[in-house]
Amino acid sequence: MTRIAVVDYGAGNLVSIDQALRSAGAEVVIARAEPDLEGADGLIVPGVGAARPAMERLRRRALVGPIRRWIAADRPFLGICLGMQLLFDGSDEDGARTLGVLPGRAVRLVGAPHLPHIGWNTVRRRRPHPLFAGVAADAPFYFVHSYAPRPTGADAADVALAVTDHGPDFVSAVARGHLAGVQFHPERSGRDGLRLLANFALLAGRAA
């Protein structure tokens, strides 16, 4: 059975992610320390809120190094919302330095009619990706955030997997190798969200 570790660092609820993965047939480990990652096929870092306290909590649990090493080994990884923003170098929200595994920063949405951006919005993929297998091209997902990643560097265009408009377009999903991140909340996005999490479990099982 595919085993997915979901990092618990006190940022937001894990109940829906846990249930979604279970209903996809995966085994779920709530990971609070490095030993919890042992034997996992995939790693999910969820999270809402601000980057600095999130990094502090990850450090306190000695999870920063293990997460970096997991990603460096190109093992299946999914960051959700803040968990995706943490992949970049830093966040403009509070100036925090984050994991730095993808070049770029989390920046405030500019030109948005309302902030936070709360609600269901369309995720336009710029290329096919197995995470979205079986999900309609115009499927809406649930967002709740004011910042979004701005990838930089030579492969920025490749990293930006999908965009969403709220005012101007922002990057709403990223991917590189077995690493992926989504700005929206699949665990709150009905059937399409469940499909996406099931796809991740499937990919993790295959890569193992």
């Binding site: 609820n13 829906s16 809402v48 709360i118 059937r191």
Partner: protein, 263 residues
């Protein structure tokens, strides 16, 4: 494009969905997770639980209800009622809620909004404002006063000024209920909604008074609401969520299609 949300609100007491004129003549209407799942299936974009259980003895029951709901209905869940501290908010979020709505406690202690926003992020903090129209003097603009404790207590606070203050303190969304219209089915108070929506950058959720699909349209087009909330018209199955969304779409308002329905 961001869809305007349609949100059914469920009054919860002692772990059950109840119906009745708020706080009196309560009738048991069923299990909250079951009803939430049904609404999610019928196209609800979010679910709001308003916990009307008196005082503290119901906290564990509420946590259980929230967790069971989060395991069945994969749509966002907001919980209002009774949260007075950051640790109480933490409990509700960990049980599976996305947002907590603060009302009376925020009026009594505005810094609570700031503490909750700093701890959990603005996106998790909704400030619910119950407003009552003040009889305006001739020639003066309309004004509304904030009321608390389910409308039983006036505060003397101007509703628009409180809305702006709540956002400055970190509220990520405002749930604005017209106490004059609540339960009357005479339509949302669109002037109230507009007065607040024009002054704050955050989404405003319209509440109080919905009778039919045209009221939802008015809340958005006239009131400037980003989301529309209703209780009784959905519970009594007077109108379906799909019918409300169809009316909104026909008026040019972006909505999320009801899952499984033809786009």
């Amino acid at each position: 494009m961001l869809a305007v949300r349609v949100i059914p609100c469920l009054d919860v007491a002692g772990g059950r969905v109840v119906k009745g004129t708020r706080f009196v003549d309560l009738v048991d209407e069923g299990d909250p997770p079951e009803l939430a799942e049904r609404y999610a299936r019928e196209g609800a974009d979010e679910i709001v639980f308003l916990d009307i259980t008196a005082a503290t003895e119901g906290r564990a029951t509420l946590r259980d209800v929230v967790e069971r709901t989060a395991r069945r209905a994969f749509v966002p869940l907001t919980v209002g009622g009774g949260v007075r501290t950051t640790s109480e908010m933490r409990e509700v979020l960990r049980a599976g809620a996305d947002k907590v709505s603060l009302n009376t406690a925020a009026v009594a202690d505005p810094a609570l909004v700031w503490r909750c926003a700093r701890r959990f992020g603005s996106q998790a903090v909704v400030v619910a404002i119950d407003a009552r129209r003040i009889v305006a003097l001739p020639g003066r603009p309309a004004a509304w006063e904030v009321v608390v404790k389910g409308g039983r207590e006036a505060t003397g606070l101007d509703a628009v000024a409180w809305a702006e203050r709540a956002v400055e303190l970190g509220a990520g969304e405002l749930l604005v209920t017209s106490i004059d219209r609540d339960g009357t089915q005479s339509g949302y108070d669109t002037a109230l909604l507009r007065a607040i929506a024009d002054r704050v950058p955050v989404p405003v959720v319209a509440s109080g008074g919905a009778a039919g699909p045209s009221d939802f349209v008015a809340a958005v087009l006239e009131g400037g609401a980003s989301a529309v909330l209703a209780a009784s018209i959905f519970h009594r199955r007077r109108h379906s969520i799909a019918a409300v969304k169809a009316a909104m779409a026909a008026a040019g308002i972006p909505v999320r299609p009801v899952p499984g329905a033809a786009a």
